[in-house]
């Protein structure tokens, strides 16, 4: 009989192994979670964090090893089983159903019923109440897909929390949240901790790890590196554990102080689209990085989509080197030398069943046209080049990209556009879900690209990061471009001040 003394771990994994063709994703990993603790799980992209979670909850069948809940061996066959054991999980990438309403997503599987019939009114009321705890006041009867990734992420978290009686597992829950939402989430996590739940928390944001976790476990290449008490470890040592080497230089905010001069390469005047983004003016020089900051749903993604012609603009005009540019669909944008790395890589980005090589070659090939196929050898060379440059963790270029870890998929997306050698590249949350090592890598890359004369528009929720590489920063609020910071004005504080609208302060 499991006795619940303090030394008895709540959830324990012993010698978990998981082998994928060509990859040993987990190699005898031990992991233990105490009741009432927040336990961080860390590691590079592809280290095996998500795989461990999926093995714990039965979403993958593990090849070896035991799982014990309160000392008793359990063998969940799937999420449903795991839920029955009181384990609630938010998997990496939002895993909710876009075609169901928000309330249905929240209550799926445990809807309130009367006489066997679902009570819609109660379901909606419950949903509103739950979301209110996260500061979300939205129409819960609308379909999930009418909300942004961030809102969806909050809903996914809310759902997992309501389902977790004993254990809550969060796989990169904060990747698409801004600091405001993160704070809210942490409040919830703390109160759950208080109630004695064990919480597994995966994130690439070290600050968040240090803020919320009690202990942490590091994985590398599917192997356990070690478990430490968070308070007893410092940043450098942690990065060392994750990478197995020193990180030459972590991103530090230093700011670009020389503004680009001369005629802008691209200028958009009065550009906008009714119902999604108010008309705005924007100009970008060669070799310039323009950052975009803003809260969730403020209209950053809309800005990018209107620029790239994904959503047609209905006012304003665009000029490239002085000549008017027609931007009514993405193909026109591409032929004008644009590139766009979308935020929602699952639905807008990767072609899951195609190989890494094909995914990287896709945009270039589409630009050349179907008739002149890029020879296999060239494609391979291209792919291998970027696999090396961006350190994409894959056994080879012929692996279907859907089988890569989240962060590595993101890198493939980046590579797809880099091979087209665009003159203007739009990156929507390029570092989302990317580990510290690669994070530094990508920021170095952005700097390198702009040094080569590429113009970049980078949307990011990480203000530090924006400070690091932007020449100018545009702040978006309520679907409007409200401020532009340049040179020495670009500081986190200034941005926060511009983002926080007066009305918004009143609400919260």
């Amino acid at each position: 009989m499991p006795q619940s003394d303090a030394s008895q771990p709540l959830l324990r994994a012993r010698g978990v192994r998981k082998i994928f063709p060509g990859t040993i994703a987990l190699d005898g990993v031990d992991f233990s979670l105490q009741a009432g603790e927040v336990h961080a799980l860390l590691g590079e992209n592809g280290a095996g964090k998500s795989t461990l979670i999926k093995c714990l909850t039965g979403a993958y069948r593990r090849d070896d090893g035991d799982i014990l809940l309160e000392g008793a061996s359990i063998d969940p066959k799937g999420t449903l089983d795991a839920q029955a054991y009181g384990i609630g999980t938010v998997y990496q990438e939002v895993n909710l159903l876009p075609n169901l309403s928000v309330a249905e997503n929240l209550s799926l599987g445990h809807q309130p019923t009367r006489f066997g019939m679902i009570s819609g009114r109660r379901m909606n009321a419950d949903a509103r109440e739950v979301l209110a705890q996260y500061g979300l006041d939205i129409d819960v009867t609308r379909n999930l897909d009418s909300y942004s990734v961030a809102v969806q992420q909050v809903i996914a978290i809310a759902r997992a929390v309501t389902l977790s009686g004993k254990v809550l597992i969060l796989d990169e829950p904060t990747a698409s949240l801004d600091s405001h939402e993160v704070k809210m989430l942490f409040d919830v996590v703390r109160s759950l901790k208080q109630r004695g739940l064990g919480i597994v928390f995966i994130s690439h944001f070290l600050d968040q790890i240090f803020e919320i976790s009690d202990r942490l476990t590091v994985l590398r290449n599917g192997q356990l590196v070690g478990t430490e008490v968070t308070a007893e470890i410092d940043r450098v040592k942690l990065i060392n554990m994750m990478l197995g080497r020193e990180l030459e230089q972590e991103v530090r905010s230093h700011g670009k102080h020389h503004a680009a001069a001369g005629e802008p390469r691209l200028s958009f005047t009065g550009f906008g689209r009714k119902g999604s983004i108010e008309p705005f003016d924007l100009s970008i020089h060669a070799g310039e990085v323009v950052g975009v900051a803003g809260l969730l749903g403020s209209g950053r993604t809309e800005t990018a989509e209107v620029l790239f012609g994904v959503a047609q603009h209905d006012s304003g005009e665009a000029r490239q080197d002085g000549t008017v540019l027609s931007l009514t669909n993405s193909r026109q944008a591409i032929s004008a030398g644009f590139g766009f790395c979308p935020e929602d890589r699952k639905t807008d980005g990767v072609i899951a069943d195609l190989t890494v090589r094909e995914n990287i070659a896709l945009a270039l090939q589409a630009g050349i046209g179907w008739m002149r196929r890029i020879p296999d050898r060239e494609q391979k060379a291209m792919a291998n080049d970027y696999i090396r440059k961006l350190d994409i963790r894959t056994p080879d270029a012929e692996k279907p990209v859907g089988l890569l870890s989240g962060g590595n998929q993101q890198k493939v997306m980046l590579a797809r556009w880099l091979v087209t050698n665009p003159s203007f590249l739009i990156l929507d949350e390029p570092t989302r879900g990317i580990d510290v090592g690669a994070h530094a890598e990508i920021i170095r890359l952005i700097e390198e690209l702009c040094a080569q004369g590429m113009s970049l528009l980078v949307i990011s929720s990480e203000l530090d990061e924006l400070v690091a590489y932007s020449h100018r920063v545009i702040v978006v609020r309520d679907r409007q471009h409200v401020a532009e910071l340049a040179g020495y004005e670009i500081t986190t504080d200034n941005m926060v001040r511009a983002i926080a609208a007066p009305e918004r302060e009143a609400v919260h």
């Binding site: 063709p21 895993n95 980005g349 089988l403």
Partner: protein, 342 residues
């Protein structure tokens, strides 16, 4: 791994299935493999399978491309009827062979264009978009033949149905040449990859700059063209255009061929060769049933049974089990599949 090895692994299940089906028939009917030459033309049951299978094989070529984009084309049977009727009408009206063929093929292309426009421009779901032509198409064909079987005696046109080149029946040649040509075009150019990309993730492909609209229209037109070829063959074979029955329910056979060929109905990776083998398997089953001498009431049951067995043997679950049980090294485990998109 080399491309050739990968390729043979890809079509191995289909080849084995074909071999088993043919093996079963030859046990039941020992004279099966006897091939002779009659009237300057190869003659024998295996030739029948190839010859009778040619229309479905042609349909399967176009259908493979359509299905790879995540679509489906229910209209091919009706398009066969339209183009057959067109050919018969043209030849009886005295337009000459060349012009007649041109008109028939153009009709097929036009049908494909219509389907493509509905799917790619109006955004109507493929199964419904092509259902419209499936219903109306037979009417159009009858409009051309005025409901009767339009019989013709033009030797040039008949050649496409029952003629032969170097003793090989023309339909077989047409199917093989079309198959080879399309494979070449699709795999030597980037078309294949782009079609697959569309089938896997239309939105992402559009965002990557793929001209999804034009490509979608093109695959439906290709399907229309293949159906036109099949329609001309079918009409030439019986020296008449039977608007009501030409190609009736063949769309189901074509889809079945594609699925037996291992292409997912959800779109994505495709193999034309495997689809062609799939078409042969279906025709082998049909011919086998005819040779067996069972009363016709049992035709459907036998066919259903065989299809089920084939599909069960090819199903991912069973394959995983086989791989699991066999001592050979794990190659393409299917845990992979389920994890895509997570």
């Amino acid at each position: 791994m080399t491309g050739l090895k990968l390729f043979s692994r890809r079509i191995l299940p289909q080849l084995v299935t074909l071999a088993v089906v043919v093996g079963l028939i030859s046990i039941m009917f020992p004279g099966f493999f006897e091939i002779s030459i009659a009237n300057g033309r190869l003659y024998g049951s295996p030739i029948d399978i190839l010859n009778r299978g040619a229309p479905v094989a042609l349909l399967a070529i176009g259908m493979t491309l359509v299905i790879a984009t995540g679509g489906i084309d229910l209209s091919v049977g009706a398009v066969m009827a339209i183009c057959g009727a067109m050919a018969a009408w043209g030849i009886t009206e005295g337009y000459g062979l060349g012009l007649t063929l041109l008109m028939a093929l153009a009709a097929g292309l036009a049908c494909g264009l219509w389907n493509g426009l509905l799917v790619a421009v109006l955004g109507i779901q493929p199964i419904v978009a092509t259902l419209i032509l499936m219903v109306a198409g037979r009417g159009i064909a009858q409009l051309i033949t005025e409901g009767a079987i339009l019989t013709f005696n033009h030797e040039g046109l008949i050649f496409f149905g029952s003629g032969s080149l170097f003793t090989i029946p023309t339909p077989i040649i047409i199917a093989i040449v079309t198959g080879a040509l399309v494979t070449l075009i699709v795999r030597r150019s980037a078309l294949g990859m782009l079609i697959e990309a569309i089938g896997i993730n239309l939105r992402a492909s559009t965002l990557a700059g793929v001209n999804t609209r034009v490509l979608l229209i093109a695959v439906y037109m290709a399907s229309g063209l293949c159906a036109a070829l099949a329609g001309v063959i079918a009409a030439a074979d019986i020296r008449g255009a039977d608007a009501n029955n030409a190609g009736l329910w063949l769309e189901l056979d074509a889809i079945l061929a594609v699925v037996i060929g291992g292409t997912s109905l959800l779109g994505g990776r495709f193999s034309l060769i495997a689809s062609l083998i799939g078409a042969l398997i279906i025709q082998a089953v049909n011919t086998g049933i005819l040779l067996s001498g069972f009363p016709p009431e049992f035709n459907l049951i036998i066919k259903a049974g065989i299809i089920l067995i084939i599909l069960v043997l090819q199903s991912p679950t069973i394959r995983t089990m086989v791989i699991f049980l066999s001592p050979a090294p794990v190659s393409q485990a299917d845990t992979e599949k389920q994890a895509v998109n997570q």
